[in-house]
Point group: C2
Chain length 332, copies 2
Protein backbone atom coordinates (compact mmCIF):
# COMPACT_ATOMS: atom_id res chain seq x y z
CA UNK A 1 0.00 0.00 0.00
CA UNK A 2 1.36 3.43 -0.91
CA UNK A 3 1.58 6.36 1.50
CA UNK A 4 -1.49 8.62 1.65
CA UNK A 5 -0.76 11.56 -0.60
CA UNK A 6 -3.85 13.63 -1.29
CA UNK A 7 -5.55 16.35 0.77
CA UNK A 8 -9.18 17.42 0.97
CA UNK A 9 -9.86 21.11 1.63
CA UNK A 10 -13.36 22.27 2.55
CA UNK A 11 -14.74 25.79 2.58
CA UNK A 12 -17.83 25.33 4.74
CA UNK A 13 -19.97 28.41 4.15
CA UNK A 14 -23.44 29.44 5.29
CA UNK A 15 -24.82 28.89 1.78
CA UNK A 16 -22.63 26.24 0.21
CA UNK A 17 -19.98 23.62 0.88
CA UNK A 18 -17.03 23.96 -1.50
CA UNK A 19 -14.76 20.93 -1.46
CA UNK A 20 -11.46 20.51 -3.26
CA UNK A 21 -8.99 17.74 -3.94
CA UNK A 22 -5.55 19.28 -3.40
CA UNK A 23 -2.13 17.78 -4.05
CA UNK A 24 1.00 18.23 -1.92
CA UNK A 25 2.09 21.26 -3.96
CA UNK A 26 -1.21 23.03 -3.30
CA UNK A 27 -2.69 22.49 -6.75
CA UNK A 28 -6.46 22.22 -6.79
CA UNK A 29 -6.98 19.08 -8.87
CA UNK A 30 -10.77 19.27 -8.86
CA UNK A 31 -13.56 20.67 -6.78
CA UNK A 32 -17.24 20.32 -6.15
CA UNK A 33 -19.98 22.35 -4.48
CA UNK A 34 -23.28 21.62 -2.72
CA UNK A 35 -25.80 23.52 -0.59
CA UNK A 36 -24.84 23.49 3.11
CA UNK A 37 -28.29 23.10 4.67
CA UNK A 38 -26.75 23.87 8.07
CA UNK A 39 -30.21 23.94 9.67
CA UNK A 40 -30.42 20.17 9.30
CA UNK A 41 -27.65 19.93 11.88
CA UNK A 42 -23.99 19.05 11.82
CA UNK A 43 -24.51 15.28 11.66
CA UNK A 44 -26.37 15.71 8.36
CA UNK A 45 -23.82 18.23 7.03
CA UNK A 46 -21.06 15.79 8.00
CA UNK A 47 -22.79 13.00 6.03
CA UNK A 48 -23.17 15.26 2.99
CA UNK A 49 -19.49 16.22 3.13
CA UNK A 50 -18.41 12.61 3.60
CA UNK A 51 -20.36 11.52 0.50
CA UNK A 52 -18.97 14.47 -1.51
CA UNK A 53 -15.43 13.60 -0.46
CA UNK A 54 -15.86 9.93 -1.30
CA UNK A 55 -17.13 10.81 -4.79
CA UNK A 56 -14.37 13.33 -5.38
CA UNK A 57 -11.65 10.86 -4.35
CA UNK A 58 -13.19 8.01 -6.33
CA UNK A 59 -13.63 10.16 -9.43
CA UNK A 60 -9.86 10.72 -9.51
CA UNK A 61 -8.90 7.13 -8.77
CA UNK A 62 -8.27 7.60 -5.03
CA UNK A 63 -9.68 5.74 -2.05
CA UNK A 64 -10.09 7.11 1.49
CA UNK A 65 -6.80 5.49 2.53
CA UNK A 66 -5.03 7.72 -0.02
CA UNK A 67 -6.29 10.82 1.82
CA UNK A 68 -3.81 12.36 4.29
CA UNK A 69 -6.60 14.30 5.95
CA UNK A 70 -9.32 16.90 5.70
CA UNK A 71 -8.91 20.63 6.40
CA UNK A 72 -11.98 22.78 6.92
CA UNK A 73 -12.52 26.54 6.94
CA UNK A 74 -15.51 27.54 9.07
CA UNK A 75 -17.14 30.95 9.44
CA UNK A 76 -17.26 32.07 13.06
CA UNK A 77 -15.41 31.80 16.33
CA UNK A 78 -13.54 28.59 17.01
CA UNK A 79 -11.90 27.03 20.01
CA UNK A 80 -8.87 26.09 17.96
CA UNK A 81 -6.93 23.85 20.35
CA UNK A 82 -10.01 21.64 20.64
CA UNK A 83 -11.46 22.10 17.15
CA UNK A 84 -14.82 23.27 18.49
CA UNK A 85 -17.10 25.75 16.71
CA UNK A 86 -17.93 28.10 19.59
CA UNK A 87 -20.36 30.19 17.58
CA UNK A 88 -21.07 30.47 13.88
CA UNK A 89 -23.79 32.99 13.03
CA UNK A 90 -23.67 31.97 9.33
CA UNK A 91 -24.22 28.29 10.11
CA UNK A 92 -26.48 28.92 13.09
CA UNK A 93 -24.34 26.56 15.19
CA UNK A 94 -23.07 26.91 18.74
CA UNK A 95 -20.58 24.74 20.65
CA UNK A 96 -20.21 22.04 18.00
CA UNK A 97 -17.35 19.59 18.59
CA UNK A 98 -16.81 19.27 14.82
CA UNK A 99 -13.19 18.12 14.70
CA UNK A 100 -13.75 15.24 17.09
CA UNK A 101 -17.00 14.21 15.40
CA UNK A 102 -15.46 14.17 11.92
CA UNK A 103 -12.22 12.49 12.98
CA UNK A 104 -14.19 9.73 14.70
CA UNK A 105 -16.78 9.11 11.98
CA UNK A 106 -14.52 9.66 8.96
CA UNK A 107 -11.42 8.08 10.48
CA UNK A 108 -8.98 10.59 8.96
CA UNK A 109 -7.08 13.49 10.53
CA UNK A 110 -9.18 16.68 10.56
CA UNK A 111 -8.01 20.27 11.04
CA UNK A 112 -10.18 23.39 11.41
CA UNK A 113 -9.59 27.12 11.18
CA UNK A 114 -11.81 30.08 10.44
CA UNK A 115 -12.75 31.03 6.90
CA UNK A 116 -10.72 34.25 6.71
CA UNK A 117 -7.63 32.45 8.02
CA UNK A 118 -7.83 29.59 5.51
CA UNK A 119 -8.36 32.11 2.68
CA UNK A 120 -5.16 33.85 3.82
CA UNK A 121 -3.31 30.51 3.97
CA UNK A 122 -4.51 29.65 0.45
CA UNK A 123 -3.16 32.94 -0.92
CA UNK A 124 0.09 32.34 0.97
CA UNK A 125 0.53 28.80 -0.31
CA UNK A 126 -0.35 29.23 -3.97
CA UNK A 127 -1.64 32.74 -4.59
CA UNK A 128 -0.51 36.34 -4.16
CA UNK A 129 1.74 35.49 -1.19
CA UNK A 130 3.55 32.56 -2.75
CA UNK A 131 7.04 33.97 -2.11
CA UNK A 132 6.24 35.95 1.00
CA UNK A 133 6.94 35.15 4.63
CA UNK A 134 4.67 37.68 6.35
CA UNK A 135 1.44 39.21 5.09
CA UNK A 136 -1.97 40.54 5.99
CA UNK A 137 -4.93 39.23 4.01
CA UNK A 138 -8.40 40.82 3.87
CA UNK A 139 -11.48 39.08 2.54
CA UNK A 140 -14.22 41.59 1.78
CA UNK A 141 -17.67 40.19 1.15
CA UNK A 142 -20.89 40.56 3.14
CA UNK A 143 -18.60 41.02 6.12
CA UNK A 144 -14.86 41.62 6.36
CA UNK A 145 -12.46 38.95 7.58
CA UNK A 146 -8.73 39.07 7.99
CA UNK A 147 -5.82 36.71 8.37
CA UNK A 148 -2.35 37.52 9.69
CA UNK A 149 0.46 35.41 8.26
CA UNK A 150 3.76 35.43 10.15
CA UNK A 151 6.67 33.23 9.19
CA UNK A 152 4.51 31.29 6.70
CA UNK A 153 1.85 30.30 9.19
CA UNK A 154 -1.36 31.84 10.40
CA UNK A 155 -1.03 33.94 13.56
CA UNK A 156 -3.85 33.25 16.01
CA UNK A 157 -3.09 35.40 19.03
CA UNK A 158 -4.16 34.66 22.59
CA UNK A 159 -7.49 33.01 21.76
CA UNK A 160 -7.75 32.80 18.00
CA UNK A 161 -9.04 36.34 17.48
CA UNK A 162 -5.98 37.81 15.71
CA UNK A 163 -6.96 39.21 12.32
CA UNK A 164 -10.67 39.58 13.17
CA UNK A 165 -10.46 43.12 11.88
CA UNK A 166 -14.08 43.55 10.76
CA UNK A 167 -14.93 45.41 13.93
CA UNK A 168 -12.09 47.90 14.13
CA UNK A 169 -13.66 51.33 14.38
CA UNK A 170 -12.81 53.37 11.30
CA UNK A 171 -15.33 56.21 11.54
CA UNK A 172 -16.41 58.51 14.33
CA UNK A 173 -18.82 60.87 12.60
CA UNK A 174 -22.07 59.86 10.79
CA UNK A 175 -21.18 56.25 11.39
CA UNK A 176 -23.60 53.36 10.87
CA UNK A 177 -24.51 50.97 13.65
CA UNK A 178 -22.94 47.54 13.19
CA UNK A 179 -24.48 44.14 13.98
CA UNK A 180 -22.05 44.02 16.89
CA UNK A 181 -23.85 46.98 18.48
CA UNK A 182 -20.99 49.45 18.01
CA UNK A 183 -20.70 52.20 15.42
CA UNK A 184 -18.36 52.84 12.51
CA UNK A 185 -16.88 49.33 12.30
CA UNK A 186 -14.79 48.57 9.20
CA UNK A 187 -17.45 46.03 8.23
CA UNK A 188 -20.26 48.61 8.19
CA UNK A 189 -18.19 51.09 6.16
CA UNK A 190 -16.33 48.99 3.59
CA UNK A 191 -18.04 45.63 2.97
CA UNK A 192 -20.42 44.57 0.18
CA UNK A 193 -23.21 45.38 2.63
CA UNK A 194 -21.86 48.94 2.99
CA UNK A 195 -21.74 49.28 -0.79
CA UNK A 196 -25.36 48.16 -1.07
CA UNK A 197 -26.51 50.56 1.64
CA UNK A 198 -24.62 53.47 0.08
CA UNK A 199 -26.13 52.65 -3.32
CA UNK A 200 -29.65 52.46 -1.88
CA UNK A 201 -29.22 55.82 -0.17
CA UNK A 202 -27.98 57.43 -3.40
CA UNK A 203 -30.79 55.87 -5.44
CA UNK A 204 -33.39 57.16 -3.03
CA UNK A 205 -31.91 60.67 -2.82
CA UNK A 206 -31.14 61.33 -6.46
CA UNK A 207 -33.57 62.35 -9.21
CA UNK A 208 -32.08 60.06 -11.88
CA UNK A 209 -29.19 57.72 -12.68
CA UNK A 210 -28.35 54.06 -13.28
CA UNK A 211 -28.56 53.16 -9.60
CA UNK A 212 -32.03 54.69 -9.37
CA UNK A 213 -33.13 52.75 -12.47
CA UNK A 214 -32.04 49.45 -10.94
CA UNK A 215 -33.63 50.32 -7.63
CA UNK A 216 -36.94 51.30 -9.23
CA UNK A 217 -37.12 48.20 -11.39
CA UNK A 218 -36.15 45.63 -8.75
CA UNK A 219 -36.60 47.33 -5.36
CA UNK A 220 -32.99 46.59 -4.41
CA UNK A 221 -29.38 46.97 -5.57
CA UNK A 222 -26.63 44.39 -5.11
CA UNK A 223 -22.97 45.18 -4.51
CA UNK A 224 -22.19 43.16 -7.64
CA UNK A 225 -24.34 45.54 -9.69
CA UNK A 226 -22.66 48.60 -8.19
CA UNK A 227 -19.21 47.12 -8.90
CA UNK A 228 -20.19 46.31 -12.50
CA UNK A 229 -21.58 49.84 -13.04
CA UNK A 230 -18.44 51.36 -11.51
CA UNK A 231 -16.25 49.38 -13.89
CA UNK A 232 -18.40 50.59 -16.77
CA UNK A 233 -17.83 54.18 -15.66
CA UNK A 234 -21.05 55.16 -13.88
CA UNK A 235 -20.03 58.18 -11.77
CA UNK A 236 -22.24 57.47 -8.73
CA UNK A 237 -21.11 53.86 -8.55
CA UNK A 238 -17.47 54.82 -8.98
CA UNK A 239 -17.81 57.27 -6.12
CA UNK A 240 -19.23 54.60 -3.83
CA UNK A 241 -16.38 52.19 -4.61
CA UNK A 242 -13.74 54.93 -4.34
CA UNK A 243 -15.08 55.88 -0.90
CA UNK A 244 -14.70 52.25 0.18
CA UNK A 245 -11.16 52.24 -1.24
CA UNK A 246 -10.28 55.29 0.84
CA UNK A 247 -11.72 53.79 4.03
CA UNK A 248 -9.68 50.62 3.41
CA UNK A 249 -6.52 52.57 2.57
CA UNK A 250 -6.68 54.57 5.81
CA UNK A 251 -7.49 51.48 7.84
CA UNK A 252 -4.58 49.51 6.37
CA UNK A 253 -2.21 52.40 7.03
CA UNK A 254 -3.18 52.43 10.73
CA UNK A 255 -2.79 48.67 11.02
CA UNK A 256 0.62 48.86 9.33
CA UNK A 257 2.04 50.79 12.29
CA UNK A 258 1.68 47.63 14.31
CA UNK A 259 2.84 44.97 11.82
CA UNK A 260 4.58 46.79 8.96
CA UNK A 261 3.64 43.97 6.57
CA UNK A 262 5.58 43.21 3.42
CA UNK A 263 2.37 42.38 1.57
CA UNK A 264 -1.31 43.14 1.95
CA UNK A 265 -3.66 40.96 -0.09
CA UNK A 266 -7.23 42.08 -0.65
CA UNK A 267 -9.73 39.46 -1.78
CA UNK A 268 -13.44 38.65 -1.65
CA UNK A 269 -16.22 39.82 -3.96
CA UNK A 270 -15.52 43.52 -3.49
CA UNK A 271 -11.99 43.08 -4.89
CA UNK A 272 -13.58 42.44 -8.31
CA UNK A 273 -13.95 46.21 -8.59
CA UNK A 274 -10.21 46.10 -9.46
CA UNK A 275 -8.67 49.48 -10.26
CA UNK A 276 -11.80 51.43 -9.32
CA UNK A 277 -11.15 50.12 -5.80
CA UNK A 278 -7.38 49.59 -5.75
CA UNK A 279 -6.27 52.90 -7.16
CA UNK A 280 -7.86 55.07 -4.39
CA UNK A 281 -7.08 52.36 -1.83
CA UNK A 282 -3.34 52.37 -2.57
CA UNK A 283 -3.14 56.17 -2.97
CA UNK A 284 -4.85 56.68 0.40
CA UNK A 285 -2.74 53.95 2.02
CA UNK A 286 0.50 55.60 0.94
CA UNK A 287 -0.73 59.09 1.90
CA UNK A 288 -2.05 58.09 5.34
CA UNK A 289 1.14 57.04 7.07
CA UNK A 290 4.79 58.00 7.43
CA UNK A 291 6.53 57.29 4.11
CA UNK A 292 8.98 54.85 5.74
CA UNK A 293 6.06 52.81 7.03
CA UNK A 294 4.49 52.00 3.69
CA UNK A 295 7.49 52.10 1.33
CA UNK A 296 8.20 48.38 1.61
CA UNK A 297 4.56 47.29 1.57
CA UNK A 298 2.77 46.10 -1.56
CA UNK A 299 -1.03 46.04 -1.71
CA UNK A 300 -2.34 43.57 -4.26
CA UNK A 301 -5.49 41.77 -5.27
CA UNK A 302 -5.97 38.14 -4.18
CA UNK A 303 -5.26 35.65 -6.95
CA UNK A 304 -7.24 32.55 -6.06
CA UNK A 305 -10.79 33.93 -5.91
CA UNK A 306 -13.17 31.54 -4.15
CA UNK A 307 -10.64 28.69 -4.42
CA UNK A 308 -8.48 30.26 -1.69
CA UNK A 309 -10.57 28.73 1.10
CA UNK A 310 -10.32 25.18 -0.21
CA UNK A 311 -6.59 25.41 -0.88
CA UNK A 312 -5.89 27.07 2.48
CA UNK A 313 -8.00 24.48 4.29
CA UNK A 314 -5.94 21.74 2.61
CA UNK A 315 -2.80 23.55 3.81
CA UNK A 316 -3.88 22.91 7.42
CA UNK A 317 -3.41 19.19 6.72
CA UNK A 318 -0.30 19.83 4.63
CA UNK A 319 1.33 21.63 7.59
CA UNK A 320 0.52 18.78 9.95
CA UNK A 321 1.70 16.18 7.45
CA UNK A 322 4.98 17.98 6.71
CA UNK A 323 5.66 18.51 10.41
CA UNK A 324 5.10 14.85 11.24
CA UNK A 325 7.22 13.67 8.27
CA UNK A 326 9.96 15.98 9.53
CA UNK A 327 9.70 14.59 13.04
CA UNK A 328 9.78 11.10 11.55
CA UNK A 329 13.04 11.87 9.76
CA UNK A 330 14.63 13.59 12.74
CA UNK A 331 13.68 10.87 15.27
CA UNK A 332 13.55 7.69 13.24
Amino acid sequence: MTEPSIYIGIDLGGTSIKMGLVDQQGHLIDWTEAPTRAREGYHKVSETMHAMAGNLLHHHGYAWHDCVGVGIGVPGFLDLPNGIIVESVNLGWKNIDLKKHLAQTWRVPVELDNDANVAALGEMWCGAGRDISDMLCLTIGTGIGGGVIINRDIYHGANGMAGEIGHVRVKERNARTCNCGRKGCLETEASATAIEQNALERAQQQPAGKLKEIYESSGTITAKQVIELARQGDADSRQIIEDVGQVLGRFLAEMSYLLNPELIVVGGGVSHAEDVLFQPLITTFKASALPRLTEKTSVVRAQLGNRAGMIGAAWLIHRKHTESSLRGRMNP
Copy 2:
Protein backbone atom coordinates in the same frame (compact mmCIF):
# COMPACT_ATOMS: atom_id res chain seq x y z
CA MET B 1 41.24 31.40 29.26
CA THR B 2 37.56 31.01 30.14
CA GLU B 3 34.69 31.58 27.70
CA PRO B 4 33.34 35.14 27.52
CA SER B 5 30.28 35.22 29.77
CA ILE B 6 29.13 38.78 30.41
CA TYR B 7 26.98 41.15 28.33
CA ILE B 8 26.93 44.92 28.10
CA GLY B 9 23.58 46.57 27.41
CA ILE B 10 23.41 50.25 26.46
CA ASP B 11 20.40 52.54 26.39
CA LEU B 12 21.70 55.38 24.21
CA GLY B 13 19.28 58.27 24.76
CA GLY B 14 19.24 61.87 23.59
CA THR B 15 20.11 63.07 27.11
CA SER B 16 22.07 60.26 28.71
CA ILE B 17 23.88 57.00 28.09
CA LYS B 18 22.77 54.27 30.47
CA MET B 19 25.07 51.28 30.47
CA GLY B 20 24.56 47.98 32.30
CA LEU B 21 26.55 44.85 33.00
CA VAL B 22 24.15 41.96 32.49
CA ASP B 23 24.65 38.25 33.15
CA GLN B 24 23.38 35.37 31.03
CA GLN B 25 20.17 35.13 33.04
CA GLY B 26 19.36 38.79 32.35
CA HIS B 27 20.25 40.09 35.80
CA LEU B 28 21.53 43.65 35.84
CA ILE B 29 24.70 43.30 37.93
CA ASP B 30 25.53 47.00 37.90
CA TRP B 31 24.94 50.07 35.80
CA THR B 32 26.29 53.52 35.16
CA GLU B 33 25.11 56.70 33.46
CA ALA B 34 26.70 59.66 31.69
CA PRO B 35 25.56 62.59 29.53
CA THR B 36 25.35 61.63 25.83
CA ARG B 37 26.67 64.84 24.23
CA ALA B 38 25.51 63.54 20.84
CA ARG B 39 26.40 66.86 19.22
CA GLU B 40 30.07 66.05 19.62
CA GLY B 41 29.58 63.30 17.05
CA TYR B 42 29.44 59.53 17.14
CA HIS B 43 33.22 59.04 17.34
CA LYS B 44 33.27 60.95 20.61
CA VAL B 45 30.17 59.19 21.94
CA SER B 46 31.77 55.88 21.01
CA GLU B 47 34.91 56.79 23.00
CA THR B 48 32.81 57.79 26.01
CA MET B 49 30.91 54.51 25.88
CA HIS B 50 34.11 52.49 25.47
CA ALA B 51 35.63 54.08 28.55
CA MET B 52 32.43 53.56 30.54
CA ALA B 53 32.32 49.91 29.52
CA GLY B 54 35.98 49.35 30.40
CA ASN B 55 35.44 50.82 33.86
CA LEU B 56 32.26 48.85 34.45
CA LEU B 57 33.91 45.56 33.46
CA HIS B 58 37.05 46.27 35.46
CA HIS B 59 35.08 47.29 38.56
CA HIS B 60 33.52 43.81 38.63
CA GLY B 61 36.70 41.92 37.90
CA TYR B 62 36.11 41.42 34.17
CA ALA B 63 38.32 42.28 31.21
CA TRP B 64 37.14 43.02 27.64
CA HIS B 65 37.81 39.40 26.65
CA ASP B 66 35.15 38.32 29.17
CA CYS B 67 32.54 40.35 27.31
CA VAL B 68 30.38 38.38 24.84
CA GLY B 69 29.28 41.55 23.15
CA VAL B 70 27.50 44.89 23.37
CA GLY B 71 23.81 45.50 22.64
CA ILE B 72 22.56 49.04 22.10
CA GLY B 73 19.09 50.57 22.03
CA VAL B 74 18.95 53.71 19.89
CA PRO B 75 16.11 56.21 19.49
CA GLY B 76 15.08 56.57 15.84
CA PHE B 77 14.84 54.69 12.59
CA LEU B 78 17.44 52.02 11.95
CA ASP B 79 18.51 49.98 8.97
CA LEU B 80 18.59 46.83 11.04
CA PRO B 81 20.23 44.34 8.68
CA ASN B 82 23.21 46.72 8.39
CA GLY B 83 23.15 48.25 11.87
CA ILE B 84 22.93 51.79 10.50
CA ILE B 85 21.16 54.68 12.24
CA VAL B 86 19.12 56.09 9.34
CA GLU B 87 17.76 58.99 11.34
CA SER B 88 17.65 59.80 15.02
CA VAL B 89 15.96 63.09 15.84
CA ASN B 90 16.88 62.74 19.53
CA LEU B 91 20.59 62.27 18.78
CA GLY B 92 20.61 64.61 15.78
CA TRP B 93 22.32 61.88 13.72
CA LYS B 94 21.64 60.70 10.18
CA ASN B 95 23.09 57.71 8.30
CA ILE B 96 25.57 56.64 10.95
CA ASP B 97 27.15 53.22 10.42
CA LEU B 98 27.32 52.66 14.17
CA LYS B 99 27.43 48.87 14.32
CA LYS B 100 30.38 48.61 11.96
CA HIS B 101 32.25 51.47 13.64
CA LEU B 102 31.85 50.00 17.13
CA ALA B 103 32.59 46.43 16.10
CA GLN B 104 35.81 47.56 14.39
CA THR B 105 37.07 49.91 17.11
CA TRP B 106 35.91 47.92 20.13
CA ARG B 107 36.59 44.48 18.61
CA VAL B 108 33.52 42.83 20.15
CA PRO B 109 30.21 41.78 18.56
CA VAL B 110 27.71 44.66 18.51
CA GLU B 111 23.93 44.51 18.01
CA LEU B 112 21.51 47.43 17.61
CA ASP B 113 17.76 47.87 17.79
CA ASN B 114 15.52 50.83 18.51
CA ASP B 115 14.83 52.00 22.05
CA ALA B 116 11.18 50.92 22.21
CA ASN B 117 12.09 47.45 20.95
CA VAL B 118 14.88 46.90 23.47
CA ALA B 119 12.57 48.10 26.28
CA ALA B 120 10.04 45.49 25.14
CA LEU B 121 12.76 42.81 25.03
CA GLY B 122 13.88 43.75 28.54
CA GLU B 123 10.36 43.35 29.90
CA MET B 124 10.07 40.05 28.04
CA TRP B 125 13.35 38.69 29.34
CA CYS B 126 13.15 39.68 32.98
CA GLY B 127 10.10 41.86 33.57
CA ALA B 128 6.34 41.73 33.12
CA GLY B 129 6.55 39.32 30.18
CA ARG B 130 8.88 36.79 31.78
CA ASP B 131 6.58 33.82 31.14
CA ILE B 132 4.90 35.11 28.00
CA SER B 133 5.52 34.20 24.40
CA ASP B 134 3.70 37.07 22.65
CA MET B 135 3.10 40.59 23.89
CA LEU B 136 2.75 44.21 22.95
CA CYS B 137 4.80 46.73 24.92
CA LEU B 138 4.20 50.50 25.03
CA THR B 139 6.71 53.00 26.36
CA ILE B 140 5.03 56.32 27.09
CA GLY B 141 7.31 59.27 27.69
CA THR B 142 7.84 62.45 25.69
CA GLY B 143 6.77 60.35 22.71
CA ILE B 144 5.20 56.90 22.50
CA GLY B 145 7.12 53.88 21.30
CA GLY B 146 6.00 50.31 20.91
CA GLY B 147 7.49 46.86 20.57
CA VAL B 148 5.77 43.74 19.28
CA ILE B 149 7.05 40.47 20.73
CA ILE B 150 6.13 37.31 18.85
CA ASN B 151 7.47 33.91 19.85
CA ARG B 152 9.91 35.48 22.33
CA ASP B 153 11.61 37.74 19.84
CA ILE B 154 10.99 41.25 18.59
CA TYR B 155 8.89 41.46 15.45
CA HIS B 156 10.31 43.98 12.97
CA GLY B 157 8.05 43.77 9.93
CA ALA B 158 9.08 44.59 6.37
CA ASN B 159 11.56 47.36 7.20
CA GLY B 160 11.82 47.58 10.96
CA MET B 161 8.76 49.79 11.47
CA ALA B 162 6.50 47.25 13.23
CA GLY B 163 5.41 48.60 16.59
CA GLU B 164 6.08 52.26 15.72
CA ILE B 165 2.60 53.01 17.00
CA GLY B 166 3.16 56.64 18.09
CA HIS B 167 1.60 57.94 14.90
CA VAL B 168 -1.55 55.86 14.71
CA ARG B 169 -4.44 58.30 14.41
CA VAL B 170 -6.64 58.08 17.49
CA LYS B 171 -8.70 61.26 17.22
CA GLU B 172 -10.61 62.92 14.38
CA ARG B 173 -12.24 65.88 16.10
CA ASN B 174 -10.39 68.72 17.86
CA ALA B 175 -7.14 66.90 17.30
CA ARG B 176 -3.72 68.44 17.86
CA THR B 177 -1.14 68.66 15.08
CA CYS B 178 1.74 66.24 15.57
CA ASN B 179 5.45 66.78 14.80
CA CYS B 180 4.90 64.38 11.89
CA GLY B 181 2.55 66.89 10.27
CA ARG B 182 -0.62 64.84 10.76
CA LYS B 183 -3.36 65.31 13.33
CA GLY B 184 -4.62 63.26 16.22
CA CYS B 185 -1.64 60.87 16.49
CA LEU B 186 -1.49 58.69 19.61
CA GLU B 187 1.67 60.58 20.59
CA THR B 188 -0.06 63.98 20.58
CA GLU B 189 -3.00 62.66 22.60
CA ALA B 190 -1.53 60.33 25.19
CA SER B 191 2.17 61.09 25.83
CA ALA B 192 3.82 63.10 28.61
CA THR B 193 3.81 65.98 26.13
CA ALA B 194 0.02 65.64 25.75
CA ILE B 195 -0.36 65.66 29.54
CA GLU B 196 1.70 68.84 29.81
CA GLN B 197 -0.28 70.57 27.08
CA ASN B 198 -3.61 69.57 28.61
CA ALA B 199 -2.42 70.81 32.01
CA LEU B 200 -1.28 74.15 30.56
CA GLU B 201 -4.62 74.63 28.83
CA ARG B 202 -6.52 73.90 32.04
CA ALA B 203 -4.28 76.18 34.08
CA GLN B 204 -4.82 79.02 31.65
CA GLN B 205 -8.58 78.55 31.41
CA GLN B 206 -9.45 78.01 35.05
CA PRO B 207 -9.83 80.64 37.79
CA ALA B 208 -8.01 78.59 40.46
CA GLY B 209 -6.55 75.20 41.34
CA LYS B 210 -3.27 73.39 41.95
CA LEU B 211 -2.30 73.33 38.28
CA LYS B 212 -2.84 77.09 38.03
CA GLU B 213 -0.71 77.63 41.14
CA ILE B 214 2.19 75.69 39.64
CA TYR B 215 1.81 77.43 36.31
CA GLU B 216 1.74 80.88 37.89
CA SER B 217 4.75 80.24 40.08
CA SER B 218 6.99 78.59 37.45
CA GLY B 219 5.49 79.44 34.04
CA THR B 220 5.24 75.78 33.13
CA ILE B 221 3.91 72.42 34.30
CA THR B 222 5.64 69.07 33.87
CA ALA B 223 3.91 65.73 33.27
CA LYS B 224 5.62 64.48 36.43
CA GLN B 225 3.90 67.21 38.45
CA VAL B 226 0.51 66.41 36.94
CA ILE B 227 0.99 62.70 37.69
CA GLU B 228 2.03 63.45 41.27
CA LEU B 229 -1.00 65.75 41.78
CA ALA B 230 -3.31 63.13 40.25
CA ARG B 231 -2.01 60.50 42.66
CA GLN B 232 -2.61 62.93 45.53
CA GLY B 233 -6.24 63.31 44.39
CA ASP B 234 -6.29 66.69 42.60
CA ALA B 235 -9.46 66.50 40.46
CA ASP B 236 -8.14 68.41 37.43
CA SER B 237 -4.96 66.34 37.26
CA ARG B 238 -6.88 63.09 37.72
CA GLN B 239 -9.15 64.07 34.85
CA ILE B 240 -6.17 64.69 32.56
CA ILE B 241 -4.62 61.31 33.38
CA GLU B 242 -7.97 59.52 33.11
CA ASP B 243 -8.51 61.02 29.65
CA VAL B 244 -5.12 59.68 28.59
CA GLY B 245 -6.07 56.28 30.04
CA GLN B 246 -9.23 56.26 27.95
CA VAL B 247 -7.39 57.19 24.75
CA LEU B 248 -4.88 54.38 25.41
CA GLY B 249 -7.63 51.89 26.26
CA ARG B 250 -9.50 52.54 23.00
CA PHE B 251 -6.28 52.46 20.99
CA LEU B 252 -5.18 49.15 22.48
CA ALA B 253 -8.60 47.65 21.81
CA GLU B 254 -8.37 48.57 18.11
CA MET B 255 -4.83 47.16 17.86
CA SER B 256 -5.95 43.95 19.55
CA TYR B 257 -8.17 43.09 16.60
CA LEU B 258 -5.02 42.56 14.61
CA LEU B 259 -2.79 40.75 17.12
CA ASN B 260 -5.04 39.57 19.97
CA PRO B 261 -2.06 39.72 22.37
CA GLU B 262 -1.88 37.69 25.54
CA LEU B 263 -0.22 40.55 27.37
CA ILE B 264 0.05 44.32 26.97
CA VAL B 265 2.77 46.00 29.01
CA VAL B 266 2.66 49.75 29.55
CA GLY B 267 5.85 51.45 30.68
CA GLY B 268 7.61 54.80 30.54
CA GLY B 269 7.24 57.81 32.81
CA VAL B 270 3.48 58.13 32.33
CA SER B 271 2.95 54.62 33.75
CA HIS B 272 3.98 56.01 37.16
CA ALA B 273 0.45 57.40 37.40
CA GLU B 274 -0.45 53.78 38.29
CA ASP B 275 -4.15 53.21 39.10
CA VAL B 276 -5.17 56.74 38.13
CA LEU B 277 -4.06 55.74 34.61
CA PHE B 278 -4.57 51.96 34.58
CA GLN B 279 -8.07 51.81 36.00
CA PRO B 280 -9.71 53.90 33.20
CA LEU B 281 -7.30 52.39 30.64
CA ILE B 282 -8.33 48.81 31.42
CA THR B 283 -12.03 49.64 31.77
CA THR B 284 -12.04 51.39 28.39
CA PHE B 285 -9.98 48.62 26.81
CA LYS B 286 -12.45 45.95 27.91
CA ALA B 287 -15.48 48.06 26.90
CA SER B 288 -14.14 49.06 23.47
CA ALA B 289 -13.98 45.69 21.74
CA LEU B 290 -15.90 42.43 21.40
CA PRO B 291 -15.69 40.60 24.74
CA ARG B 292 -14.02 37.55 23.13
CA LEU B 293 -11.25 39.81 21.86
CA THR B 294 -10.06 41.11 25.20
CA GLU B 295 -10.99 38.27 27.57
CA LYS B 296 -7.58 36.59 27.32
CA THR B 297 -5.54 39.80 27.34
CA SER B 298 -3.93 41.22 30.48
CA VAL B 299 -2.85 44.85 30.61
CA VAL B 300 -0.12 45.45 33.19
CA ARG B 301 2.47 48.01 34.19
CA ALA B 302 6.08 47.49 33.11
CA GLN B 303 8.29 46.15 35.93
CA LEU B 304 11.81 47.23 35.03
CA GLY B 305 11.42 51.00 34.84
CA ASN B 306 14.38 52.62 33.10
CA ARG B 307 16.45 49.42 33.42
CA ALA B 308 14.36 47.76 30.67
CA GLY B 309 16.42 49.32 27.88
CA MET B 310 19.78 48.13 29.21
CA ILE B 311 18.54 44.61 29.92
CA GLY B 312 16.77 44.36 26.55
CA ALA B 313 19.85 45.68 24.73
CA ALA B 314 21.93 42.97 26.43
CA TRP B 315 19.35 40.43 25.25
CA LEU B 316 20.26 41.26 21.63
CA ILE B 317 23.70 39.81 22.35
CA HIS B 318 22.25 37.00 24.46
CA ARG B 319 20.09 35.90 21.50
CA LYS B 320 23.05 35.89 19.14
CA HIS B 321 25.23 34.08 21.68
CA THR B 322 22.60 31.42 22.41
CA GLU B 323 21.92 30.87 18.69
CA SER B 324 25.59 30.43 17.89
CA SER B 325 26.14 28.09 20.87
CA LEU B 326 23.19 26.08 19.59
CA ARG B 327 24.65 25.96 16.10
CA GLY B 328 27.98 24.96 17.59
CA ARG B 329 26.39 22.04 19.38
CA MET B 330 24.36 20.93 16.37
CA ASN B 331 27.24 21.15 13.87
CA PRO B 332 30.33 20.47 15.92
